[in-house]
């Protein structure tokens, strides 16, 4: 990786978000460099998932700007944002449980046209996620958590996104699958897809990320390259609630 900061692909600047009276984000600013993996760390109720929803247009910020590739995303609907090239792996996977694995993966290509290219990409997914090959006609809801995570990632890749946002991709997975998922994120990234991921598991996330931000009750309290943050004791503190940390 180059040492200098790459041109930003996604930028949130001074975002303030409210749920009713309660403020969730306080002047949140985050940038994701082109080709980078950026990780947003934080404990429960720190505003991580809401950040993801802001990017996807599922929640509208009260003020601030969100740009993707230089163009504003504010005011666009979720489908419009997806068409700009942002795919998502939602929290808890959110597969279409009663559709087959094949249908789930193909749903990822909903915004695309061209049957042949889509079929080719499906084959590509099966080489990337070989286990899914035997599961194609099975109901997605019948898969194990780890397998579902694979489907969710394949589904996201099918739109040929420029960026994938992931909400806690390792949550609830067995240690074996956690390693596999992290490895896959790295592979995806090496093929040129930028990744923005929200994680609770800091040490794992920092292993594959280029940069990271630490979010605490809606404010960025720490940010920098993953390498420097990895050894920073404040990461752990911030996470467990600052002064309350043991």
């Amino acid at each position: 990786m180059t040492t200098g900061a790459p041109e930003p692909l996604l930028a949130l600047s001074n975002v303030n978000t409210f749920y009713g009276q309660a403020q969730v984000h306080f002047d949140l600013s985050i940038t994701v460099g082109r080709g980078h993996i950026v990780c947003l760390l934080g404990g429960n109720a720190s505003g991580k998932s809401t950040t993801m929803k802001i990017i996807l247009g599922l929640v509208k910020p009260r003020s601030g700007e969100v740009t993707f590739d230089g163009a504003s995303l504010i005011g666009l609907t979720t489908p419009q944002i997806v068409r700009r090239g942002i795919a998502s792996v939602p929290e808890a996977r959110r597969l279409f449980a009663d559709m087959s694995v094949r249908e789930n993966i193909l749903m990822g290509a909903f915004v695309r046209n061209g049957r042949e290219a889509i079929a080719q990409d499906l084959d590509k997914m099966l080489t990337l996620f070989p286990k899914l090959g035997q599961r194609l006609s099975q109901r997605a809801g019948s898969l194990s958590g780890g397998e579902q995570q694979m489907v969710a990632m394949a589904r996201a890749l099918m739109s040929r996104p420029r960026m994938i946002v992931m909400d806690e991709p390792t949550m609830g997975l067995s240690p074996l699958y956690v390693d596999r998922v992290l490895e896959l994120i790295r592979t995806i990234n090496q093929e040129g897809v930028s990744v923005f991921m929200v994680e609770q598991n800091a040490s794992l996330a920092l292993e594959i990320a280029h940069e990271a931000y630490v979010l605490q009750t809606g404010k960025i309290v720490l940010s920098g390259s993953a390498r420097t943050l990895k050894d920073d004791p404040r990461v752990r503190d911030a996470y467990l609630g600052g002064s309350e940390a043991a």
Binding site: L56, L58, T77, T78, P79, V82, R83, A87, S88, P90, R94, L95, F96, A97, D98, M99, E103, L106, M107, G108, F110, V111, G141, R155, S159
Partner: protein, 607 residues
């Protein structure tokens, strides 16, 4: 018709008609988790558009069908765009109430345009019948079967192979995830409403041709049958809706074969209640399916109730109390008596729907039970009227609670469906239990109101009596709600799982609410019976249940004062503005729509 084969054929044909309605309901429920109570109105519109096409435009049959499908689809699109889309971020109950309002408006518009008198809708097919085995079958039967089967096939192909069909399926399984795949949920909703309306409209046309007659009462019946079929098959399950419809058609047809025509609907609603109790997710739901989404917390619009100082309430009571002594016309007193009676019903419903969150659509049944009990006791056993009315209230409380108890384990929309069905069942039992209720003839010559031997025949005395009873019930209810009981009720409404976790027995508290509410409604029905001197099984109908619901929402769900204010407003305002009777239901529908859209918490706020 005599052979079993005939009844089977008839059941399957009628089932096909229901399927056209139910499939639309299932599609809409799948995508929006909404029971579209306006589906029957679209069916009605379809029948009348068909009449225009056949009788006035003389279109050939294929063109008639296409014309009806297109106009109905257009109506569906308009409903989606202007009635429901603005409510997307609203509380969960809002779209349900909106479809009820829309159905009132559509039915009344049809009635005002075409008059309520039945019209003949000639079948455009030759009237011949072929012998098949021991039964007969006609070209119209074949047409209905053909339309049913081909619609099901088209729908299957659409859902399985088209891009929009995939979007519909994905959105019905996980709306947010579908959006994140780039699915435009508004387009999906449009598609679903358009398809549902087209099918519903064609269904209305075919039914009209089948019975050679159409009238405006078709609407509610169609909605009810469609809902029954859909719930039997599993809400949101499209193939399930088809099977549920055929099953419903057969059950009805065999029921008619054994017991007679007036039992048709009774079988339909009994089937519904049995399915709701035994398999609330439908016959085909597998065990893994999650229970119906909890509709907690946001089901009712949260708000800060308007504070009214206690002295102002007493002043209002005093003003209305002395009103008959002022020079006011009998007409004003008459109007207000109606308002007080409706107020008692609204008190009952605001407790049940607002405070404990069980949105009942069959509340008129409680009126009917109270009215029949009181009327029969005073007529046949010569029980003094005052006592008979109290007995009516007690009977409503007891019987109403027992009847509703199977729905205690249901939530959200399912409660509404169950109560609607139970309301219909009560009315059908009254119709069929001739030895006690005198069946369709009704009860006439009910003695007038009297208290301790004094007859209350003057409007002034009736006014005072009904006003005093209502104020008493309101005070009791206010007292009840300020105790820990009120808090428990609201806890169950806001989160029944949490309430249960804190040791509240849902059955006990729901029973208590229905007992108290049943008493108030029963007393209202009892007074009404002695006031009207004649009642029959249609005196207390679903329209009144919906009117009561509108009153309660207008006043603010759960709000005791609001219930009374809502009743006075809804009964009084049309009188003040001298709105002709035939426009009133239309006005009620519009009021409901406007409330849901702009002030879901009602005039005085929910509590």
């Amino acid at each position: 018709m005599s052979s079993w084969l005939d009844y089977t054929i008839n059941g399957l044909i009628v089932g096909n008609v229901y399927a056209l309605v139910a499939v639309g309901l299932a599609l809409i429920f799948g995508v929006s988790r909404l029971i579209n109570f306006a589906q029957g109105s679209i069916y009605l519109v379809g029948a009348y558009i068909g009449w225009v096409a056949v009788v006035q435009l003389h279109t050939p049959l294929p063109l008639t069908i296409i014309f009806v499908a297109m106009v109905a689809a257009l109506v569906g699109l308009i409903i989606e765009r202007f009635g429901l889309r603005p409510l997307q971020n609203s509380v969960r109950i809002a779209p349900l109430l909106a479809t009820i309002g829309i159905s009132f408006v559509l039915d009344q518009l049809v009635m005002l345009t075409f008059s309520p008198n039945p019209r003949a809708l000639p079948s455009q097919l030759p009237d011949v019948r072929f012998q098949v085995g021991g039964g007969t079958i006609g070209p119209l039967d074949l047409l209905i079967a053909g339309v049913g089967i081909s619609s099901a096939l088209l729908l299957f192909v659409f859902l399985r192979y088209s891009k929009l069909g995939w979007a519909v399926r994905a959105a019905s399984q996980d709306r947010d995830a579908a959006m994140q795949m780039g699915v435009d949920v508004n387009r999906v909703n449009q598609a679903v409403f358009g398809i549902a309306a087209a099918l519903g409209g064609v269904s209305g046309l075919l039914v009209g041709m089948y019975y050679n007659q159409i009238d405006t009462a078709m609407s509610l019946q169609a909605t009810l049958k469609g809902v029954v079929a859909e719930v039997v098959g599993g809400a949101g399950n499209v193939p399930g809706a088809v099977v549920g419809s055929l099953l419903l058609g057969l059950v009805e047809s065999y029921g008619v074969a054994v017991f007679g025509t007036s039992y048709r609907n009774l079988f339909a609603f009994l089937l519904l209640v049995v399915v709701l109790v035994l398999r609330p997710n439908g016959l085909f739901a597998s065990a893994r399916q999650a229970p119906p989404e909890p509709l907690t917390g946001t089901f009712i619009a949260p708000s800060r109730p308007v504070r009214i100082p206690r002295w102002a309430l007493w002043v209002a009571v005093a003003v209305f109390g002395v009103l008959p002594m002022l020079p006011v016309s009998f007409y004003v007193l008459q109007t207000l008596i109606n308002a007080w009676l409706l107020g008692m019903l609204a008190l009952s419903l605001t407790l049940v729907a607002g405070t404990i969150g069980q949105v009942s659509l069959g509340h008129a049944a409680l009126l009917a039970i109270g009215a029949y009990t009181s009327a029969l006791l005073s007529l046949t056993l010569s029980v003094p009227v005052g006592l008979a009315i109290i007995a009516g209230g007690l009977m409503s409380a007891a019987l109403g609670t027992i009847l509703i108890s199977p729905s205690f384990r249901l939530r959200g929309h399912y409660v509404s469906i169950a109560t609607l069905a139970i309301g219909e069942i009560v009315s059908l039992v009254i119709l069929n239990w001739e030895s006690v209720t005198r069946g369709p003839i009704g009860i006439s010559g009910i003695p007038p109101l009297s208290l301790f031997g004094y007859e209350l025949t003057s409007p002034t005395s009736v006014y005072w009596f009904s006003f005093a009873v209502m104020v008493l019930l309101a005070l009791l209810q206010a007292r009840l709600l300020s105790s820990h009981l009120g808090r428990s009720f609201r806890a169950i409404r806001d989160d029944d799982i949490a309430a249960r976790a804190y040791g509240l027995s849902l059955n006990r508290y729901k029973s208590l609410a229905f007992i108290f509410g049943g008493f108030a409604a029963g007393v209202s029905g009892g007074i009404a019976a002695h006031l009207y001197s004649y009642i029959n099984h249609e005196t207390f109908n679903t329209q009144q249940s919906i009117l009561a619901l509108t009153v309660v929402i207008l006043g603010g769900l759960g709000n005791v004062v609001g219930a009374v204010v809502g009743a006075v407003a809804l009964v009084g305002l049309p009188e003040v503005f001298r709105i002709a009777a035939e426009y009133r239901i239309l006005i009620y529908g519009i009021v409901l729509l406007l409330l849901v859209r702009f002030r879901p918490q009602g005039l005085l706020g929910t509590i």
